[in-house]
Symmetry: C2
Subunit: 360 residues, 2 copies
DNA sequence: TAAAAATGATAAAACGTTTTATCAAAAAAA
DNA sequence: TTTTTTTGATAAAACGTTTTATCATTTTTA
């Protein structure tokens, strides 16, 4: 008197398109005349089950394309095998490249990536973190922004592994990995000074990000150490929400106004490309009329004549370190990485835009 | 005799960092002297519960920062509120831009994005789809590739909503949204011919993607309709896995060899930028020595003098349509969109690289 | 040969929800 | 007043796993 229970029924339609009425561990137990426990043990290599039964179960499972229900597993074990990636914006070369690396590395350990962008909006950041913390993800990689300190500390307090990337929270012991922003900016400006440029401008974004502050400090310290007096007029902070055309016009206006300025340092990639557009529209010669350096390397900076000197952030290393750190924290041994703060060195890619001043 | 059950205990440490020993619906029931069902009803606005009890429950829930356990909800309802985004690679401007739009739109409906890249590897694609189908996602946006037909059809057969993006499966009724590849390429090549260029080369990737085939057909048809004989030697297929330096060298070799060639059409963004690099290294003048058009617009093509004419894919429209289509399919009314095939028109951005031949 | 230990298999509880079916009490209709 | 209907609340089952505790059975040890 076997209960007739039409399970699965791998119907072969067309060539091999099959309707997989999702088979469960229970179905396998029924099909093999064993118990749920036995099937679970076999599938997870846990208990001790005889060779024959093991084989039978494995066969049936494979033949029916059994896949565990992640929700059930997640509910039972509290582990989702998903990592939350919270970045400023996924579009754009910098985070895009990192996302790729992170995904690849995570996949090797069986983790998937759920990603969210904040667009530098604090509320969005808070919302995103709250959502992810609904038992949905096992760990976080986050680009920090001012205002998210509490939220991140909460995660840490609840023993959720977190690694910050591209920034950090001053004074808080939260593991992070980022480029040496201060040093990189310092070197870049120093490089300009060594090449003979004296009046160096700074174009940055009016965002309360520690990265940008560190870069600005680097700029100022380089001037100071070279005995150059800082000139407030040479510093331009582009308001954050400015749209592209307006931004270009603002940059143009700034450049036109500062006639003595002979070089300019852009603190981010997108400022650099907009700067390039501005300089082009002003029909200024690089580096004769204006030398330039931008943070973040980019195909454009390589191609655009005469080549733009950049500070190349090693995206691969940063992303790799971050995901490695996170994974090690999530592994069985649960390394304590709370004190780990990685500074990855950047690379100054010298190109035509900073040719020595006396060379032309 | 109330059982002492230390739940939650929102401990206030530091300022407000709290240890949220994740409160559950059960805990709320206990705290409010109600039942689990009642709490669930209130939280979901379902059953009929009195004003007072509703308020009490809502208060307690809010005060304790209750968040439903997505795993439990998912297990019970079979709905994960997650969308799987399977693209070729998330790095790169095209998919990056689309991912951004998709994420934003999905978020409005309470969906999160889990993303995976295939790197144009069929096995990886199969694996990714298998993984995602472990009850983990409610719907899919996929960039199709040859070899994935069966897998995608399986999803559809199992009533999983799927929308293809940037490509399609010829002959299969799976909803998709992409640019009019054939027409766009046709127009581009026609534009070159109208501008006086006669010997137009084609540089494409040796990938079995329908998009590239359609673009190639567009190229050929444009020649045909203008009574120009197709010349096999003017077509170059770059092997897929070539690394960047080798690719540039290969393109250089091809260009150098085809001396009569006066214009060249690149079928993808990354081929276009590598082509630009090649042309620069060969010190050829654009468009005097060689005119060019590339598929996919890009900041570089706008900036690089004299400006490169491109076929701009409206990433926003494509992504928006795709996610809208998917969401409508997942909504309660479950629109049948199986027959929907959207062709989004592209835009030819004319720049200096295709100036009329008799103008210089 | 009897007691102890190892082996192989399983029942049942639990994870946190949603939802169906049920039920008592109150209100409305007869 | 009695019957019917409505209202408000709940118990219990189910979703698909993992895991603990249990229990025969067989093997080993004493």
């Amino acid at each position: 008197m076997v209960a007739i229970n039409t399970i699965n029924l791998k119907i072969t339609r067309d060539s091999d398109i099959m309707i997989n009425k999702k088979i469960s561990i229970k179905d396998i137990a029924k099909l093999t005349n064993t118990s749920i426990t036995t099937v679970s043990f076999v599938l997870n290599g846990k208990g001790r089950i005889s060779k024959e039964i093991t084989k039978k179960i494995l066969d049936v499972a494979a033949k029916n394309g059994y896949e565990p229900n992640r929700m059930a597993v997640g509910l039972r074990t509290g582990v989702s095998k998903v990592i939350g990636l919270v970045v400023e914006t996924i579009g754009g070369p910098f985070f895009g490249a990192m996302a790729k690396v992170i995904e690849e590395e995570a996949e090797k350990e069986g983790y998937r990536i759920i990603y969210c962008s904040t667009n530098n909006n604090i509320q969005k950041g808070k919302d995103v973190i709250r959502m992810l913390s609904q038992q949905l993800v096992d760990g976080y990689i986050v680009t920090p922004m001012k205002g998210l300190e509490k939220d991140i500390q909460n995660l840490v307090a609840n023993e959720k592994p977190v690694v910050l990337i591209d920034g950090y929270f001053p004074g808080l012991d939260i593991p992070h990995v980022l480029v040496d922003n201060h040093g990189s900016a310092f070197n870049a400006v120093d490089h300009l000074l060594k090449a003979g440029y004296k009046k160096i401008g700074l174009i940055t974004a009016d965002l309360d990000l520690i990265q940008l502050q560190d870069r600005t400090r680097g700029y100022k310290d380089a001037l100071k150490i070279n005995d150059i007096k800082e000139d407030k007029r040479l510093i331009f902070k582009l308001p954050f929400d400015t749209d592209k055309d307006k931004a270009i016009n603002a940059i143009k206006a700034f450049i036109k106004q500062q006639k003595q300025m002979d070089a300019v340092f852009f603190t981010t990639n997108y400022l650099g490309t907009m700067g390039l557009e501005s300089i082009r529209q002003l029909e200024l010669n690089i580096p004769k009329d204006l030398a330039m350096i931008s943070f973040d390397d980019n195909e454009i900076f390589n191609l655009y004549p005469p080549g733009i000197t950049t500070i190349q952030q090693p995206t691969y290393e940063i992303a790799k370190s971050a995901i490695d750190l996170l994974l090690s924290q999530m592994s069985v041994d649960r390394h304590d990485i709370s004190k780990i703060k990685l500074q990855i060195p950047s690379k100054l890619i010298e190109r035509g835009s900073t040719t020595e001043k006396n060379r032309f």
